[in-house]
Amino acid sequence: MMLKISLTVNNKAVSADVEPRTLLVDFIRSNLNLTGTHVGCDTAQCGACTIHLNGNAVKCCNMLAVQANGAQVVTIEGVTPSNGTLHPMQAAFRDHHGLQCGFCTPGMVMSAIDLVHKHPAPSEEQVRAELDGNICRCTGYHNIVKAVRAGAAAMKG
């Protein structure tokens, strides 16, 4: 069974024929070649595959591509300005050394941007609670929390 889906990804309209079993993350990585969205656990626990679907952070390894038919999707590639600079949250992760191997970072940044949209000035406690769906096995989280709070301040400016 093949189904036609049409959606907007990073402000561009895309259409494709997909099998119902195609996961949204596989559609993004394999069909659209947007490989910044990572597959870590493939069981909806680690958060490396976090994207924005209609303005909310979701884990796209745990969704079907057909569920995103008609949706607005933003991936990590879509938050970076086209002039080659970084989104304020990405810059904050770099400035505060909020990553080591970097595998979890795209999901962390997407989750953090959504977090700041909902809590514009998050406390350390809030950041720790709200990031509980994103797992990092390198950093111990301290610098990630610093980066998210700094990124939140920079996003206001």
Partner: protein, 267 residues
């Protein structure tokens, strides 16, 4: 993932017809449990019937002395609802503690109830508030909805459309979450209303259950001390890598005490 067919239902009756025609079909709500289960072949439906296109299944309405929440309403919407925060703050708090933020942005009330995971949060609220589960066929009282581990009275072509909660005088929920999954190792929902006191426990056993001894103690004095020394038998509780049955029995008393304090504080 294995191959299967997909149908986006145009209406509840369309979805029900699909279920009647194919006994191997399953409803897709948010899919936060179902899709993960399918990857592991713990579930293997040959067709998914997606409910996300049926607008009337989502939404929160205050109706008289109650609040009606559509089956496809996402956990994040219940957690962030001003109406729920005013009417039943314990329910908003419970919804805000399910899984993680990304799961709450997709997972739904109806999906959680139909799945009836032994450690899910929502069954505790539905039984703890004496809610009514509305389907395309009937209205089902919470006490008769859940039948056992992953079991409900739902028929093959029966679809949850909404849940009606009566607004209690006060209610509280407290869970001891698994630190990785945030599922309840033990969760206790307590409410006091005109109909009496209810104490519902999730996570501890194969299915949500009430604790009559705690309910009658709280009916005479609604205070944490009333339940602190009421212990439940470990015999019928679950033992697994996360907690022994004895530990879960202990947690029921501790969480019940904290849930009553939570209800009294009114947060």
């Amino acid at each position: 993932m294995y191959a299967f067919n997909y149908h986006k239902a145009a209406s509840v009756s369309d979805a029900a017809a699909k279920l009647s025609a194919n006994g191997d079909a399953k409803l897709l709500a948010g899919g936060q449990t179902l899709l993960a289960a399918m990857k592991l072949r713990l579930a293997s439906p040959n067709e998914l019937v997606d409910l996300s296109g049926i607008a009337e299944l989502a939404g929160i309405k205050v109706e008289g002395s109650g609040i009606v929440i559509g089956a496809m309403t996402r956990h994040a919407d219940v957690a962030g609802s001003a109406e729920v925060a005013i009417a039943i703050p314990a329910l908003a708090k419970l919804a805000g503690g399910i899984g993680d933020r990304m799961v709450r942005n997709v997972g739904t009330l109806g999906g959680s109830l139909a799945n009836n995971d032994p450690a899910a949060d929502y069954p505790a609220a539905v039984v703890g508030l004496g809610a009514t589960v509305n389907t395309n066929k009937r209205k089902i009282a919470a006490d008769s909805f859940f039948t056992g581990m992953y079991g409900t009275v739902l028929e093959v072509d029966e679809i949850i459309t909404s849940v009606s909660f009566l607004i209690p005088n006060r209610a509280g929920y407290m869970k001891f979450p698994n630190p990785a999954s945030r599922y309840a190792v033990v969760g206790v929902f307590v409410s006091e209303s005109a109909a009496g006191v209810r104490v519902a426990v999730t996570g501890a056993g194969p299915c949500v259950f009430r604790v009559p001894a705690m309910e009658s103690a709280l009916a005479s004095t609604f205070a944490p001390e009333s339940v602190a020394n009421i212990s439940i038998a470990a015999d019928a509780l679950s033992s697994d890598m996360h907690a022994s049955a004895e530990y879960r029995a202990h947690l029921v008393s501790v969480m019940a005490k904290r849930a009553v304090a939570d209800a009294i504080s009114g947060r």
